[in-house]
Symmetry: C2
Subunit: 142 residues, 2 copies
Amino acid sequence: MAPSDLPAEPTQARRFGKARSAQSTALLEDYAELIADLLAGEGEARPTDIARRLGVSHATAIKAIARLKREGLATARPYRGVFLTDAGMRLAERVRVRHRLVVDVLVALGVPAEAAEQDAEGIEHHVSDATLAAFSRFLEHL
Amino acid sequence: MAPSDLPAEPTQARRFGKARSAQSTALLEDYAELIADLLAGEGEARPTDIARRLGVSHATAIKAIARLKREGLATARPYRGVFLTDAGMRLAERVRVRHRLVVDVLVALGVPAEAAEQDAEGIEHHVSDATLAAFSRFLEHL
DNA sequence: ATGAAAGTGTAGCCGTGGCTACACTTGCTG
DNA sequence: CAGCAAGTGTAGCCACGGCTACACTTTCAT
């Protein structure tokens, strides 16, 4: 596409719309992945730990956890920590794999490790399956 | 970093924080780029056109334009279209270059064109200067 | 066994970015 | 030149994701 070609209106609108909705699931993905990590590493996931890791207040974390529950991704009983449902664990695993893949591709392209980790944190939520597949192929053929 | 190593807390919190703040500028970037395209292509940028391209209501577009004005990126007089300030044009140009670079890298990695355009729409807002530089180098050495 | 510290939960505020509904310009057309 | 269609702007709603402040459990040490 030449520089000053605008894509057809509906195409462009669809793209922006998808990017917007990807954004709305990004937060759930981050929480799911982090909770899975904490469960694996510490045996439990407490709201305060989650909040500290994400750099938000515990109240913010608790509200997000409520949303995870609403979406059927997590369960939690008052004062008893947070757990993931099967759906939540599947999501976390998908996110974990995708995150590593994005970081590995960035590093393979010559991005310094710390920048790769940082950028992957934002990029990962916008990587489609098609792109993910291409990333896999690229890393294999290295 | 081994799979189940968690990054140190402050590091991880900082990463998430940066990813969050990148998000807040993403919308401005999209508007600035689109307005620049419309000005270049049609000679004028009207709120309704902007809204159609982005797939949002005209009211939403107008609110975003108000924010662009607040941030010193755009100017607009009632019923007279939207224009970019110097800062706005510089931003738009930076965004345009970055967008192309991201798309080109994705395509070079084997991502199908349409998916590359779609994913770039979300990814571009999270690409640091270091990553951008690596992308450039990668494309040159192709 | 109790009391303080740590953690948890709730309430209520803010700004953002969506939306619809309604009012008002503008500008073209007949 | 009158009137209507298209475009513009404003108001007010919602959900989200931040926050602080405050209340309530739990837990652990004395």
